[in-house]
């Protein structure tokens, strides 16, 4: 974890997304997919929390060496401010933060499922998996075609690239949950990686648990500090020995978790009661990385 006053090298848009590339060699060198950076907000604002963004790309080689890119859409004041940041300005960056996705040692076929801006880390992950000779398939979901995250790059990186939009304006109409069962089948996925809003994550995790496919999820819960100081980003995670659970920090012990170990019912959902209780399968899932 390093802190840098990082110069903005590039600030551009694609679709509804904004992308910022900063010069932060010490952060970029260490970055792995699933990890994130924490960006300090400017002074004089009424919003004070740092904002966290998944690392979309970290260049360790070539002309862009020492840079890293993150991507976001406008949610509120923080991302609105960031959307106005220009080349040559400086950002207060801390990173890389949190845990990274683990690469499978023996298993091969990897299915990457993501929704909206949560897709940002998946392209970095796809690259790294491919570099390790794995098969990569992707499902990317979004509200509309404008929210589909980098479809061209996705196609380039994956064996099959499935797009699902809520309004059917690109790819299939529906949610990633509709596409997942079929894709699990057709791609012969042995490992699933997911990044999406919490209810979707839970459903994905359960589909995988039912099928006994190991999975990893990346969480985007609200994180005021991102550096592990405040303990407000707690996730109830079952202990390795199975004896009870601990409230782990999503920013430090996560954001990547094995969903089989998350105590979903204690981790408040956005519509409690609406999510199904975890299936019996829980206990059967082998330890990750398989």
């Amino acid at each position: 974890m390093k802190r840098a006053r990082a110069e903005v090298l590039n600030a551009r848009r694609f679709g509804v997304y904004h992308s910022i590339t900063v010069v932060a060699p010490e952060v970029a060198q260490r970055a792995r997919p699933g990890q994130f950076v924490s960006i300090g907000m400017p002074q004089g604002r009424s919003f004070i929390f740092r904002r966290q963004f998944s690392i979309h790309e970290a260049s360790r080689r070539g002309g862009w060496a020492g840079t890293l890119e993150f991507v976001f859409d406008r949610h509120g004041p923080g991302t609105s401010w960031l959307a106005g940041v220009r080349v040559h300005e400086f950002l207060d960056v801390i990173g890389p933060l949190g845990t990274a996705f683990a690469y499978p040692a023996k298993l091969n076929a990897c299915l990457l499922v993501s929704e909206g801006h949560a897709s940002a880390p998946m392209y970095f992950l796809a690259q790294e998996l491919r570099a390790r000779g794995k098969r990569v398939d992707m499902i990317v979901g979004a509200e509309t075609h404008e929210h589909v995250f980098k479809p061209i790059e996705g196609k380039r990186l994956s064996q099959t690239f499935s797009i699902v939009t809520a309004d059917g304006s690109l790819g299939e109409r529906g949610s990633v949950l509709d596409a997942l069962p079929g894709m699990l089948e057709t791609t012969g996925a042995e490992v699933v990686y997911a990044a999406a809003p919490r209810p979707t994550l839970r459903a994905i995790a359960e589909m995988c648990l039912e099928r006994e496919i190991p999975s990893q999820i990346a969480i985007e819960d609200e994180m005021p500090c991102g550096t592990g100081l405040c303990y407000t980003c707690a996730i109830p995670v079952i202990r390795k020995d199975g004896g009870g659970y601990d409230n782990l920090r999503a920013c430090a012990e996560g954001p990547v978790f094995n969903p089989a170990r998350i105590l979903w019912d204690r981790w408040i959902g956005d519509a409690p009661g609406s999510a199904p209780t975890p299936p019996e399968g829980y206990a059967k899932v082998r330890t990750w990385p398989g």
Binding site: I48, Y231, A234
Partner: protein, 320 residues
């Protein structure tokens, strides 16, 4: 932290409890000593107040635990901590290794818990003082917070002070209108000093989802929003008890903020929320205090105390 580079000593002496400079980490914003991120220069802090430690380990409260408010942070961690035994075994040694003075914050729900915590922590090398957290609810007394009852406060603080050879600070919320009276109860019971203020009870609501933003649902408000409230608390108590050391806490983000607290009567300051936003805030603040003193030709932080000039005359002149 060496401040000799600045040609200014900014050590402070809280009636015998000496810190190399006046800026500590506030309770709850630097865990209990485990997992301190490398972006925080722990050894350059004047001291670390631990997250409040309970007898048994506590998982804390259900999420969501935090929400952003205007210039503030509303949070309810519910005192998540490893419990005193594991703190002593695993956390304290790390802080000792970092050579940072430790103030152990202790929280109980019964008198005997405060007693146990005091006994367990009192003679441990590295711990330089205790900070008694009294906003927990009193299980022996209708669940009201301890600070709500002068009798209970007297009992708890008295017991801790009697059993401890360390300086004992009591941390109070900005309670109204009895703050000064409550402070007096603590000092009479044997406390060496006060920490003012604890986060202010607050609620955040998500209008769109018709729900509270915290599960608690009431949390503690901290950050720049509460600075004037904390300053008023410090000022009011310092005014009537100028010889009682006060650690000022609440919204300190810059050196100017810290100076404001010292002028209002604090002997040192603690930094909480600002550290979450800027992990090197405490160190920068200490350096800024040194520069400020130099610029103003004031020889030490203690010289700021009581130096606040009140503008104009007392308020509320009657019509004639």
């Amino acid at each position: 932290m060496t401040t000799s580079a600045l040609g200014q000593t900014i050590a402070v002496d809280l009636n015998g409890l000496v810190f190399s400079h006046p800026v500590l980490a506030a309770s709850g914003c630097l865990s209990t000593g485990r997992d301190v991120p490398s972006v925080v220069d722990v050894h350059r802090l004047a001291g670390v107040v631990t997250r409040s430690i309970t007898v048994a380990p506590s998982r804390g409260s259900v999420v969501p635990r935090a929400a952003e408010t205007a210039s503030g942070l509303l949070s309810h961690v519910g005192l998540q901590n490893p419990g005193v035994d594991e703190f002593l075994a695993k956390d304290l040694p790390r802080l000792v290794r970092a050579k940072v003075p430790v103030i152990a914050s202790i929280a109980g729900t019964r008198l005997d818990e405060y007693v146990r915590l005091t006994t367990a922590l009192d003679r441990r090398p590295g711990i330089v003082a205790l900070e008694v957290y009294v906003s927990t609810s009193d299980e022996e007394f209708a669940g009201e917070p301890f600070h709500a009852s002068p009798e209970r406060l007297n009992e708890i603080v008295g017991a801790v002070a009697r059993m401890s050879r360390l300086p004992v600070f009591v941390k109070l919320p900005p309670m109204l209108p009895e703050l000064v009276e409550t402070a007096r109860v603590c000092i009479r019971a044997g406390a060496s000093g006060l920490t003012l203020i604890d986060a202010v009870p607050g609620l955040a609501v998500d209008a769109d989802r018709l729900q509270s933003r915290l599960a608690a649902p009431i949390g503690g408000l901290s950050g720049p929003a509460i600075k004037p409230i904390a300053l008023a608390a410090v000022y009011q108590v310092a005014h009537v008890m100028p010889r009682v050391p006060i650690m000022g806490v609440g919204g300190v983000s810059t050196a100017a903020d810290a100076v404001e607290f010292l002028l209002a009567g604090a002997w040192a300051v603690q930094v909480g929320t600002a550290m979450l936003v800027n992990p090197s805030a405490p160190v920068e603040i200490a350096q800024g205090i040194a520069s400020y003193l130099k610029e103003k030709g004031i020889s030490s932080p203690a010289d700021l105390r009581g130096r606040l000039r009140v503008r104009g005359e007392p308020a509320g002149d009657a019509a004639s």
